[in-house]
């Protein structure tokens, strides 16, 4: 590897280590040596883990899957910001070139009551699935293949729905929210489906079911801090929360 490259850096990592859900956790300090600026953040952790394994230390557990910013599995709060603070970037797409030699980096798991820690940086995000299961779908009969233009959808509506559908369900909105609320996540699905003719039919039932599920999973309420939008790697806008509120009021008043 690039061990003798003059561009490599040495970093100090402060990583949250926790053996299991009920074990007490604490920050441990590790050296990351000869880190190439071309590595991704997770590759850097892979290398650190190699060293840890060689020295007989349990490697740092962290979630990841696609490593290309689309699956939403990676979940790390880096230096106090979910996904590390580079705009519209998941932590797997964050590169070491945005750090400097000698930097100290704090790495912590998502923290919220609804996301219990499984181990180290791995949290259980299935509460987000529970919210989707409560109403984040349409129950239409699929039947045969529909004619492409049978249901006309104006371009602005389709774009709006697509913007909301960009959510990858990573949970950064919850991790960033001072209230541990999943309102941005929930609103993205409510807004996406409410904007489309197929979703409109169940809009009222859906908004009730999904906000109740959100509450039932132990998430907090939205206080309009907008930290979620700042943390979101897909740039989901808080306008969708306003849309959810609108949908809720429409449903409640009818």
């Amino acid at each position: 590897m690039s061990e003798h490259n003059a561009n490599t850096m040495n970093l100090k990592l402060h990583v949250w280590r926790q053996k299991g859900p009920d074990a007490p956790g604490k920050l441990e300090t590790y050296d990351a040596k000869h880190v190439s600026p071309d590595m991704s953040f997770l590759e850097m952790l892979d290398e650190v883990n190699e060293t840890l394994i060689k020295t007989g230390i349990d490697p740092i557990a962290f979630d990841h899957d696609c490593r290309e910013g689309i699956c939403g599995m990676c979940s790390q709060v880096v230096n106090g910001v979910a996904h590390g603070g580079q705009e519209r970037t998941t932590v797997c797409q964050l590169h070491m070139r945005s750090f400097q030699d000698g930097d100290s980096i704090f790495i912590e798991p998502w923290r919220a009551r609804a996301f219990p820690i499984v181990k180290d940086l791995v949290v259980d995000r299935s509460a987000l699935d529970t919210i989707i299961q409560s109403g984040g779908y349409t129950s239409c009969h699929t039947g045969g293949i529909a004619d492409g233009n049978a249901i006309l959808i104006p371009k602005p509506d389709a774009d709006y729905a697509m913007d909301a559908a960009e959510c990858i369900g990573c949970g950064a909105c919850v991790a960033g929210c001072p209230n541990g609320s999943a309102m941005l996540f929930t609103s993205a699905k409510v807004a996406q489906l409410a904007a489309l003719p197929q979703g409109k039919a169940e809009a009222a039932v859906r908004v009730h079911a999904m906000t109740e599920a959100l509450q039932g999973c132990g998430f907090g309420n939205c206080s309009n801090h907008y930290e979620c939008q700042a943390a979101c790697p897909k740039g989901i806008n808080v306008k969708f929360i306003a849309k959810l509120n609108r949908e809720y009021l429409k449903a409640a008043l009818n």
């Binding site: 309102m183 509450q215 309420n221 806008n237 306008k239 306003a242 809720y248 009021l249």
Partner: protein, 221 residues
Amino acid sequence: MQILKSVVGRKVFMAITGQCMVLFAVVHMLGNSSIFIGPDGINAYAKHLHDLGPLVWIFRAGLFAFVAIHIFYGIQLTLENSAANPTVYAVKKQIKATFASTSMIWTGLLIALFVTFHILHFTARVTPGIVKGVDALGRYDVFTMVVSAFKNGGIAFIYVAAMCALFFHLSHGIQSFFQTMGWNTDRTQCTISTIGKAVAFILLAGYAVIPLSILASALIK
């Protein structure tokens, strides 16, 4: 009722009660500024209000109910929110949240304390040293009461400090109202937020100028 338990429903009650209090605060500030016309201004204004009789009490009861609802849900939501976020990060950066947005419960409770004091002070007039009297036309002399109260630096400070708390509360609260009611999009967010802060500042300036100018003229004399 489902709406009284809902994450959105309770926020809507907070937002509407809060915004009605803002309307009250604007009208109250405009009424107060009649003090700059002199004793004839504010004493006449106070007499007109009191002459409304039972209407005054209906209005007070309504406003009290709004304040109670707002405080109740404010405390309930804040407690739920901190329970939903029990562990703190070793390092946490705020990107969009502000001092105003994260201290709503504290600025709110300061305002509640102040309102209690303010009612005992100028409405019930039971605080020590309050000047009660009537003017030449037999009207309750609000002008002298207020002017003599604010010559006391401590009292003037309490009023100005409370208005600063109100400023912070509303600099988040007013824009938050529009978001909670769903009357917001990404196109309007920036404008609504600026207008909210401007209204909050106008209220701060409009209220604080009264104790400050009275105190300043007392100090100059």
